[in-house]
């Protein structure tokens, strides 16, 4: 099983979530993060007028664990719905998961996803 972590634009969350649901990926988690990348940040003006460049931008991290066989389809789905083509679109990271357990039933493995 694989964990897919996708860093996306906050404004794309609805689209990605819906696309994933259509593709059959219901289970997922969302975390609000702030991220730094090639995209430049936002400039705030401080109380006393100084410019404060915030190099971090609000992003959404989507986490979902999928069967290894579903991995590529899930990635395709995310890419298809999250891309705008402008800097700041984000990244997808995939890493192995050795065990999955459903708390309610204690089921393990792919059943539990």
């Amino acid at each position: 099983m694989e964990k897919i972590e996708a860093i996306i634009r906050p404004e794309k969350l609805e689209a990605v979530k819906n696309a994933l649901a259509e593709a059959g990926f219901i289970g997922l988690n969302v975390v609000a993060v702030t991220g730094r990348g090639t995209q430049k940040g936002v400039t705030h003006i401080g109380r006393t007028g100084e410019k404060i460049t915030v190099d971090m931008l609000p992003k959404i991290k989507l986490e979902l664990v999928v069967k290894s066989s579903d991995k590529d389809r899930a990635i395709e789905t995310i890419l298809g719905s999250a891309r705008t083509g402008v800097i700041g679109d984000g990244k997808i990271f995939v890493s192995p998961v050795s065990q999955v357990i459903k708390v309610r039933t204690g089921e393990q493995g792919e059943e539990a996803i």
């Binding site: 404004e11 609805e14 936002v42 400039t43 705030h44 003006i45």
Partner: protein
């Protein structure tokens, strides 16, 4: 003419109470927008206080209340408050300093354009906004105020009743809001993305302070401290209460749960509707007026959504419709038994007044619609009304002011 200290105390206190209504409105609106736009929204109310305070002193008061020209506008004789001193002006209020009357009226001139800001919330360019407010105050508010309240104003002479601003304040701004909903580009994601209020306690805070301030608005409009003020105080409170209960009940019946925002909005529309009638009707009529406001404004909001107009915070549905209902209800319920200085309405046997009220409403609708449309179209051409897409996405707080409301 002698200044009466009690009357003056009441009008000064009332003016202060009406002043607090505009920041209150900022919170009422600011709570309704998304958190990225809260400063932009609150600020549109806050800065209007500053802007119109100066406009009013320099030329606004003179246009609205200065020596009448042909029934349609005040002259420039009082520009810069020349001749507007502390001696009472018996044409307007014989027992308080003229400047007290001027200051009280100023607060009305402030809140009226601030009301419109709800219509284009979350998307207007700040620079254009400032110009728009100045122009609107000068070309829409000041003339209408003159017609209805100015000595020699033609609607006043025509017999239209407007105790505290149903036409002048609420219809004028509510109709301007409707025009804005037509002329502005819709917000990105309108009807497809949720745009829910980011801070409902702020909405209630705003509504509470508005309710408080409205006593100054309506009971202060008696311009004396006595029977008329007390009566207006009671009708004001009663209509607000009934408006809140009615909207809450409507939301319960339609959506299955009694809405907190709905009750807050209901109180406001009850207050809107009683405004023109406050000093002309009794408490039981006020119940009916508040009830009508709750029902009609609730339905107006539903209609607005169905028609797909992006009046961001329903200024038209609340102030336009509520003010119209109030002005007409004045024609129905007014009675000289309550206020000998007023007139009898339909139910007191005088259908005439109702026609006059209809006419006053129609004129205000048409005038505000027309001039607002013109102003917005010109400004759109010259400076642009909507912020850029990117700026709208980032939110007004950062894009227009470089500030971010919350840091936790």
């Amino acid at each position: 003419m002698n200044i009466n200290s009690g009357d003056t105390a009441w009008i000064l206190a009332s003016a202060a109470m009406v002043l607090i209504m505009t920041p209150a409105l900022g919170f009422f609106y600011g709570g309704m927008v998304r958190s990225k736009n809260v400063l932009g929204t609150i600020f549109q109310s806050f800065i209007v206080i500053a802007l119109i305070s100066i406009q009013w002193v320099l030329w606004g008061y003179s246009l609205a209340f200065g020596p009448d020209k042909w029934g349609i506008i005040g002259g420039l004789e009082w520009v810069g408050l020349r001749g507007v001193g502390t001696e009472p002006n018996a044409d307007y209020a014989a027992t308080i300093p003229h400047q007290a009357f001027m200051a009280f009226q100023m607060m009305f001139a402030i809140i009226t354009p601030a009301l419109i800001t709800g219509a284009f919330a979350e998307r207007m360019k700040f620079k254009t906004f400032l110009i728009f407010i100045l122009l609107w105050a000068t070309f829409v508010y000041d003339p209408i105020a003159h017609w209805v309240w100015g000595t020699g104003g033609w609607l006043r002479n025509f017999g239209a009743l407007d105790f505290a601003g149903g036409t002048v304040v609420h219809i004028s701004s509510g109709v301007a809001a409707l025009v804005a909903a037509f002329v502005f580009k819709k917000r990105q994601g309108f009807k497809t993305e949720p745009m829910e209020p980011h801070n409902i306690p702020f909405i209630v805070l705003g509504a509470g302070l508005l309710w408080f301030g409205w006593f100054g608005f309506n009971a202060g409009s008696a311009l004396t401290s006595g029977a008329l003020a007390a009566g207006a105080f009671v009708t004001t409170n009663t209509a607000a209460a009934m408006g809140a209960l009615t909207w809450m009940t409507m939301s319960w019946w339609r959506n299955g749960k009694p809405s907190v925002i709905g009750a807050a909005a209901g109180a406001v529309v009850g207050l809107v509707a009683i405004t023109p009638a406050a000093g002309f009707v009794g408490p039981l009529q006020a119940i009916f007026i508040g009830f009508g406001a709750g029902v009609l404004c609730f339905l107006a909001v539903q209609l607005r959504i169905k028609l797909g107009w992006d009046d961001s915070l329903d200024v038209w549905g609340c102030h336009g419709v509520g003010g119209t209902w109030g002005a007409i209800a004045t024609g129905l319920f007014a009675t000289t038994a309550v206020n000998a200085g007023g007139a009898d309405g339909l139910f007191a046997g005088n259908p005439q007044l109702l026609l006059v009220q209809f006419a006053a409403v129609a004129v205000t609708w048409i005038y505000s619609f027309g001039i607002t449309f013109l102003l917005l179209k010109i400004l759109d051409r010259v400076m642009g009304l909507n912020v850029e897409n990117e700026a709208e996405m980032k939110g007004l707080d950062i894009s227009q002011h470089g500030e971010s409301a919350y840091q936790y």
